[in-house]
Symmetry: C2
Subunit: 277 residues, 2 copies
């Protein structure tokens, strides 16, 4: 084991120092006071970067499977030394987290601050591309939307109050940690949120199979927002009628694309239109 | 209940007529002799269409939750009357299938025939767009690739022997049933498969973060194949060096896109280049 890395060995599953990791599957379903679970090396690295940047997120503690320690020591060194690193055997770890999907790399993170919508908008550059989710309840899709937002240089993600929490374990994992790097705000009603963005100079493009403009034809503008609705019902009529609508050309008899994939296709086109990629 | 629809009520979970549906989660892991489980209305409708078309797939039996029967009667009428429809209460159905994710709509399908690679290629039109998977082991990603193939008018999907089975329950569901509508072949080695396609006049485009041609720049040609590798290791070097390579422009510090999303982006560009969308 890396000798220069300070860590604490945990030998009992009921050790209070690692109580936050107990039954993380259940924890996802309960109030968490801004805390979230990080799994795997990719997201752990993003948490280290977020902590270092001193933004909205910080690490509270790290829990590593004994035989994974050497392999992630370079990432662990990126955290300040006051973030405790706990190391446990497989049997302790399995007993703690209740299932074996964690791959031996876990951390407990905390959202330190929660900016409101106005603050989040104020921090956007003059020329901006943002992604907006309305009623996205599938954690995979929301995670995928964040991953695509990061890949195609979106400046922020906005979600109405009916979207699920992007810090949920599965969203965070599917986002490959992008939830920790792309600024976001979640809350409020969909129409109110879009009207706020429109008032801030955003051209609002709602994606829908019935949209009038094909995504390749969306004209570049200084501030662009792509809006994705829930897979089942799509976007509400009052959203579709008030703003621009866009569609993805596809075989008509088939269900419209998955929300994650659709967000990737449209963001790619918009990022391309404004010369970001 | 719809009186003109012939069905059989099942009152015992151990009724041998529905034994094929017992513990379907386990069945996915075992040999199935070309049989597969269909869940939900969207895929059931695709199975009906496939059965009617008289192609590679047929329905063997259908199992519906009592209170879902009326809602799907229009789909059930699309099946020939010799396909048995079993109807059960929630308690019987839960006991049969062992978990409650089926939404009360299940069918047992069978792959009747298995064309070899040469036969599958022979049935392609002169101008063709095909999707190729190498080592895709994630059922979600494979299902998503089929969904995108169907959406962007691909003529077939080819998979090497190391890809998972697209008829696996979860792949089929994520594909929204496209596995039953897009012709496919699975088997053989990746390089051998690609060389066969090249010999049949296909321009082979392997997608990789290190690809030389950005997907917007892929030139149209009469026969085009898009190749997607496994997420972890990507495509093997011998695949990348022998054929054209393409990349998706994205933020460089981030993991490359999910295989499902990446296939959608590249297929969209290729279908667009050849004027299919």
């Amino acid at each position: 084991m890396p000798g220069d890395l300070g860590f604490t060995s945990i030998t009992e599953a009921d050790d209070p120092r690692i109580s936050a990791f107990r039954d993380i599957r259940e924890r996802d379903l309960t109030g968490r006071q801004g805390r979230f679970i990080v799994e795997g090396t990719v997201v752990l690295r993003m948490l280290a970067a977020a902590h270092k940047a001193g933004g909205d997120f910080e690490a509270e503690s790290i829990l590593i499977l004994e035989n994974r320690l050497a392999g992630v020591s370079d990432i662990l060194r990126e955290f300040p030394s006051d973030v405790p690193i706990y190391v446990a055997t497989a049997s302790v770890l399995d007993a703690i987290v209740g299932f074996n999907l964690h791959r031996g790399i876990l951390a407990l993170g905390k959202r330190k601050s929660d900016k409101d919508m106005a603050q989040t908008i104020r921090q956007l550059p003059k020329s901006s591309l943002v992604l907006v989710g309305c009623g996205i309840s599938n954690h995979d899709n929301l995670g995928s939307m964040f991953r695509n937002a990061a890949a195609f240089y979106a400046d922020a993600v906005f979600m109405d109050a009916t979207c699920c929490d992007p810090l949920y374990r599965k969203s965070l994992r599917v986002s490959v940690g992008s939830v920790l790097s792309v600024p976001y705000h979640r809350g409020g009603g969909a129409v109110e949120m879009l009207e706020t963005l429109a008032a801030e100079g955003f051209d609002i493009w709602s994606l829908s199979p019935a949209g009038t403009t094909e995504i390749r034809q969306i004209p570049a503008s200084n501030r662009m927002a792509l809006v994705i609705g829930t897979e089942g019902d799509g976007l509400a009529p009052d959203v579709l009628t008030r703003f621009h609508t866009a569609r993805i050309a596809q075989a008509p008899e088939l269900d419209s694309l998955n929300a994650g994939t659709a967000s990737g296709l449209a963001l790619y086109q918009m990022a391309s239109a404004i010369g970001r990629i």
